[in-house]
Symmetry: C2
């Protein structure tokens, strides 16, 4: 609630009621954030806090690679088999696909290299066998992948084709005489590239190649291919005949992973090692598949590997939380700049600092809740409980929307946190630069973010098309649709809606701000933006359907940036909705109040970022638009007393943060300095400042 100051403007002072009520019940909020599988998540987080799994910054890249593999062996050596949660119970797994990803996303706190190398082994190499293999193949091939007797690479991406898997060049040609597939790399661009485990540790790989049999190219399929001999001590030896490759060398981060390249020359694999769930070849070379359309088959296969994107989303949000927790702790202790006779302020009390950190705290919460919903959706599909084509499509779209948003958010946030910690933020001992370097590649792996956003937008446009088709099937529907669109166009061309708002608000900034505080208003503003953007771009692109290729390309080109923007707006809405739903689950009134402010900060900063759009589309009057920034600033001030609680609720202890500046050391230094000056003043030996001396002489 806002009160009104004598000059009639709303001020940031919460009402007496609010001020008394507002607080954060940290343990209860922490518990809520543990989500659907609290015990497993707690176990996974505790594991990430164990020193043996922590990134060791002193290692050379070569040592780091070996240690990471060793850590993975430790992870499956004990009784705790949370790395196997997604695997079938009959093989020692837990048949818990959603819980598996929740636990996986905690591992980023230990070492992103460990996380991603685990992800390669159990989430890509193993998951390809699990999702693309038959039960017989699972029984035969999964145990080695699970217990690391077979470290594996996931050989999908090629140097020439990153996110465009459909265009890969590697071939697997069936030879009926020997009942084998012959894997070949036809040219340099078709080398498999950037593969974790491929440079050193993998002895097998799941290789994606175009399946050719009887002169027909059946498109991309996956093959289980041994690539290196296994030495008696269990480590990887030389490449097997026909297999070659090289090390990708140093990378910008994730140096604990041996990324590398692979190529194949006449490598023969038995017919039985085509992972055959979605396509198989009979002894005579006859191809068959349960999915008739090659396009749908391809997307079904790829869709079964969506877990990578889901898990990166949660991990990215967690890395941002770690950065924010470090930066907020430091900022709550660090003092800089005082006036004469004025005590130096804690930097968290600077408006600029609040602006840098608090909206990102809000976005981290939004991202967290959205990821929880994504995990639900994932679990529904992959547990088989609600495995429908519609849910799968929803899952893929949501994963693409959130992964592309959260990985970009994490990088931006970690950079802001590093800068907010000044020079100290640049030191490796304070964690953030190291974490950011590792997270960097999350923005392009499992699909470049720009490509993912276009995928999301295309889905939104297609949905819109279906809706229009439905609406316009009857003459009445058509008429309504046309009228609605015409009305909207008229409204925003004349700014009529804005004028109406302005009249309603006139002379009362409180009413304008109050309007923004309303959840329904926020929802409407965010949802309306997505709907309108999709409609605009769909309408603009419609002529492409019947145009010459060159003209169609031109039309796509003219709308591509808008497509990406629509996808981003969609992700913003998803996160806002997830946040709002989560608030309803909070029982404690004070916590709910604070979290509502946090949600408002999230919603209103999204609106603030896109304010020009709202103005130009007549969705906000000038009057209301002008209150957005001021209202956000007031909310940020209101959140100041709760900042530490809000980052504490994420549940990261010192064993997760591992930053010297987040340990209270700064407060100790500040106290020591203040005590020194106090003692000096008390002693009477303090030198007089020249400045005050001059002033007193005047």
């Amino acid at each position: 609630m806002t009160t009104t100051s004598p000059d009639g403007t709303a001020t940031s002072v919460p009402s007496a009621d609010d001020a008394a009520t507002a607080h954060v019940d940290v343990p209860a909020l922490s518990e809520l954030l543990l989500g659907r599988w609290p015990e497993l998540r707690r176990t996974a987080r505790a594991r990430a806090g164990e020193a043996q799994y922590h990134k060791d910054e002193s290692l050379t890249p070569a040592e780091h690679r070996e240690r990471t593999l060793e850590q993975m062996r430790q992870m499956v050596a004990g009784d705790d088999k949370i790395a196997w949660l997604a695997y079938p119970e009959r093989l020692g797994g837990g048949d818990q696909p959603g819980a598996n990803l929740a636990c996986f996303s905690e591992l980023v706190a230990a070492d992103p290299s460990l996380q991603i190398k685990s992800g390669v082994q159990w989430g890509l190499f193993g998951a390809a066998i699990l999702h693309l293999g038959t039960p017989e193949q699972q029984d035969r091939l999964l145990p080695g992948a699970m217990d690391l007797t077979v470290p594996g690479a996931f050989a999908m991406t090629e140097t020439g084709h990153g996110s465009d898997v459909q265009s890969i060049g590697t071939t697997a040609t069936y030879d009926p005489d020997t009942e084998e597939f012959v894997i070949d790399t036809p040219f340099r661009g078709a080398w498999k590239d950037y593969l974790g485990n491929a440079a050193q540790h993998a002895t097998a790989a799941t290789v994606f190649a175009r399946l050719v049999t009887n002169g027909v190219d059946h498109g991309v399929h996956c093959f289980y291919v041994p690539i290196r001999e296994t030495l008696p001590d269990g480590t990887a030896g030389d490449f097997l005949p026909g297999v070659g490759g090289e090390d990708d060398g140093l990378k910008g981060g994730l140096r604990g992973i041996d990324n590398g390249r692979l190529h194949f020359t006449g490598v023969r694999v038995p017919r039985a090692d085509l992972l055959a769930r979605y396509g198989s070849v009979a002894a005579d070379g006859t191809y068959s598949s349960p999915i008739e359309s090659p396009g749908r088959r391809f997307f079904t296969m790829l869709g079964s590997l969506v877990q990578g994107r889901v898990s990166l989303d949660g991990s990215a949000v967690n890395s941002a939380k770690i950065g924010l927790a470090i930066a907020v702790r430091y900022a709550a202790e660090r003092r800089q700049f005082g006036g004469p006779g004025v005590d130096e302020m804690v930097v968290l009390d600077y408006a600029t600092h609040r602006r840098r950190l608090f909206p990102r705290i809000a976005e981290a919460y939004a991202g967290h809740f959205a990821n929880e919903r994504l995990l639900d959706l994932f679990d529904d599909v992959f547990s088989g409980e609600q495995d429908t084509p519609e849910r799968r499509e929803d899952l893929e779209t949501t994963a693409a929307a959130l992964k592309s948003t959260s990985t970009a958010f994490a990088l931006d946030t970690l950079q802001e946190c590093r800068e907010a910690c000044g020079g100290a933020g640049f030191l490796t001992e304070n964690r953030i630069t190291s974490l950011r370097a590792d997270m960097d590649v999350y923005a392009t792996f499992e699909g470049d973010n720009t490509v993912l956003q276009q995928l999301v937008a295309r889905r939104l446009v297609a949905d819109y098309g279906r809706e229009v088709k439905g609406a316009t099937r009857t003459p009445a529907g058509m008429a309504r649709f046309v009228v609605e669109r015409a009305t909207d166009a008229a409204l925003h061309r004349t700014g009529l809606r804005r004028v109406t708002q302005a009249i309603a608000d006139v002379g009362d900034p409180r009413r304008a701000a109050g309007h923004l505080r309303d959840a329904e208003t926020q929802r409407e503003l965010l949802a309306d933006r997505v709907a309108t953007m999709v409609e605009e771009v769909a309408t603009a692109m419609r002529p492409a359907l019947k145009a010459e290729p060159a003209v169609a390309a031109r039309i796509l080109d003219e709308n591509q940036v808008a497509l990406v923007e629509a996808a981003k707006a969609h992700a913003d809405l998803l996160r806002w909705e997830a946040f709002t739903d989560a608030i309803a689950e909070i029982e404690d009134t004070g916590t709910r109040l604070v979290m509502t402010w946090v949600r408002d900060v999230y919603g209103l900063t999204v609106i603030e970022r896109n304010l020009a759009w709202y103005l130009l589309h007549g969705r906000l009057s000038d009057q209301r638009a002008r209150t957005v920034t001021g209202y956000v600033d007031r909310l940020l001030r209101r959140l100041r007393p709760h900042a530490l609680d809000l980052v504490d609720a994420w549940g990261y202890g010192p064993e997760h943060l591992r930053a010297k500046i987040a340990t209270g050391a700064e407060a100790e230094r500040q106290d020591e300095a203040r005590a020194y000056y106090a003692a000096l003043r008390a002693s009477g030996d303090a030198p007089v400042s020249e400045k005050s001396l001059r002033a007193s002489r005047r």
Copy 2:
């Protein structure tokens, strides 16, 4: 020039005239970009291209540190003394302060560690002696700093005080009995921190400490303090008595520099080693200074060290150019995603890719030209040609405005470039991640960017205050001032100005876009924004002058974010002005045309970013505002054929870019793949795709 398509909207097709004229004379533009000291810059750039100075990614941090020192020795071993350009001719220098910084900014292309370690030695440690010392001290102390017989640290920053130098805790207390200063570190927070050269190589330091004599604290002064013994082989030995310290350890980048901490316990330095240009102490302890006011004295001393900021500005812009040159070369060869039967497109032909890279190319040009102007200003002041208090103040404000803008720009751009190169961008062999990691700290050293922006804004507000005072000195002036402000408020409260524009433009999007193309319009929009923001914030803050401390703090708090925004807007304007001035110097018509488009992209993307502001302040009608994005997109399409030329003109060869993906390797791979498929099709052995088979069966 735009043409009109049948539906009446302006399209991106340049007119026949423009299309024929538009081209980039790369050598001529390169020459122009070499600026005021072309020969020296050429020499410096050639040096940065020599392999002996290149960053070696294979080194351990310890090896990297040693190599960097060795490289610096090589830099001054030969006849080429460009590292000494700023030093007095009588000592072997060039007395060319501006040229020195121009050359320094080229060194970032070799290795940022080498650049910054050089900067510490010759631009901070040496420059402190040069600018804060007397001629006698220069003669005595500079030679060792210049020829590296005395590697030095610049001991200003303390753990407890980063950008707030005025509050440092180290003391230098004069002892008249021995005619010495006694340097002391009173508490842990007063340890000198983050100092390049301090962990290993420095044998002396220029130490900033509060000068205390006869019981009076005269504020921060600089002292020349030996800190380590020099071993017979010329390397640094143990700390001298009373000096202690520790290594800052690993950092997020710049690992070739031995940053460290220093502390002092009763360290005695001779009276003669207070760098005495702005303050000295007589044998009896009497303090004297040519500058009476302690505040002005402090800022004069600090101001004499402005070259750090000036040099970081140019270096940051150069690092962004390197990233962009790599990303554009790769994008011009890389092909991804084609339709069936449609050749894959070069990624630079995607609208999203143009949006990611081209506005940053434009901003790099703007940043380049602005840095040239800054170098002019710097040279004017430091050569003594125009060393007035006003010019110094301008220089300091401009340096703060541009350094804070360009270092943020560089990080953002390098990240975008790395992502635009996909997984390849993450490999160290492709340079960008390594460069970005090194550039990271540029955002906080020589003054945290947020602090610098507030410094800029305070200057702008002070200027505004002076203007108002001038304007309101007479009753007529006062009246005019009040009326002008009232008119403006009325205009933007009613949106009157916007309505006027809308009436003028009605039904003619071309007129609206044409208006934006006009340089005077862009200038007015950018300049008006700065003026208005400054006025708004100045007006809002005026009550703070007469308020209680708590109220004043509150008022500052409420305006701090706006202050920073005003500083950013000021930097945008400076860069636009510098760009526009530079275009006038281009003689070739085609180049001038292309560069005008580039300038328009810069100006209009700044306006686009702040579109809500322009709308809410009645500076743009909805009609005009709606054309901005479309017009920018058209400009980007128009620039597509010139993209490679625009990055080539920066003058970086393969010896500067050093990225495998920027060597033509990708085009080779693409050609090989295309040749393979062409041959396969020609042979008649190509497998038929299942998809086309199914289609033909229907």
